[in-house]
Symmetry: C2
Amino acid sequence: MARTAGSHSDITGPKVREAALKLFAAGGYAAVSMRAIAAEVGVQAGALYNYTPDKQTLLFDLMERHMTELLAAVQDDTAQAADVRLKAFVAFHIRFHHARPDAVFIAYMELRNLTPENFAHIEGLRRSYEDGLEQILRDGVASGVFNVSDTKIATLAIIAMLTGVNTWFRSGGRLSLDQITAQYSEMVHRAVT
Amino acid sequence: MARTAGSHSDITGPKVREAALKLFAAGGYAAVSMRAIAAEVGVQAGALYNYTPDKQTLLFDLMERHMTELLAAVQDDTAQAADVRLKAFVAFHIRFHHARPDAVFIAYMELRNLTPENFAHIEGLRRSYEDGLEQILRDGVASGVFNVSDTKIATLAIIAMLTGVNTWFRSGGRLSLDQITAQYSEMVHRAVT
DNA sequence: TTACTTTTTGGACATACGTTCAGATATTCA
DNA sequence: TGAATATCTGAACGTATGTCCAAAAAGTAA
């Protein structure tokens, strides 16, 4: 159990992931070299291989951690009415994604740089998240509070719309995140009612 | 004027752009080599430099052509009612983007690989397109047919939602493009009314 | 301090990159 | 046909890449 001697990996390990997250988001996976990541950490390139077997796995780890965190954080109180649950989902999605723009960016942009197996795994996690929203819509349709002809399409449309906030919103602008959230919540609610 | 002797560039030029479009979309700008593009064309790498001064300009050309085509194709009959114009916009956007998935993908994903000047130019074109939609929303608000608290946000939300179709829709699936368009049209209409 | 383990260095490896250019080839004009 | 032009080849350039590894350094336990 646990490291005993010469122990620095608790410090360097997270640093490596932070550096990779930042640089991949800024320049793209293919354009960022292992040497650049190492320089950001303050270490030589060879040392990175104590923390990842290769560059591909480093990318995959970042994505998987992000999706796992997302799934762990999302909540849905099925005892509530569907429109209340939908509103909570919208607020959660916007807030969660706004808090980690780099990870979100990578999770959407670097999918094509994953090996087929890694891609399938991440896609499965993403599907789980989408299913959570779709269930809310389905329940709302069943209880008569929502009216959408295809819940799968509505799910994808809503998620695309919400995630789009990340492409332009920055704190300190004309509107606060709460104001943005309120307007999106209103639009989403109308779109499915 | 015009080419007279030894003239093959009318053939090779378009081929180079087609190959670059396809490969950039599939693998990403940074991950695609000039040699790979040349191989797709059926030529040696050096020959590409008859058609572009460098790789960066090749990317920029693809984006600029795409945005210029988009702006040339979009129409807006301001004599019509705002809700009719919005419906036409939705249908146009979905159809136009569905017809050229590679160009759309590149125009969204490779922005960070443009030089600052090239980026500013493309952003200006994109802004023009967004302004077209926002004008429809503004006119609708003025005439009382729409109700949105911030037309800029609504514009971005709608475009994100519509462009999202490209990430999952493929012809031949469960639903036709017309069916998709109808449902999005309905959702968008509700969201702003 | 000594013995031991973990972590990092620094250099090497084979390979790939964007770009250039002199010379070869293909096409057109007269 | 021969002369002129447009296009392409093939090799070279300097540099950068992901990954590996023996040796050095840094940390911990006794």
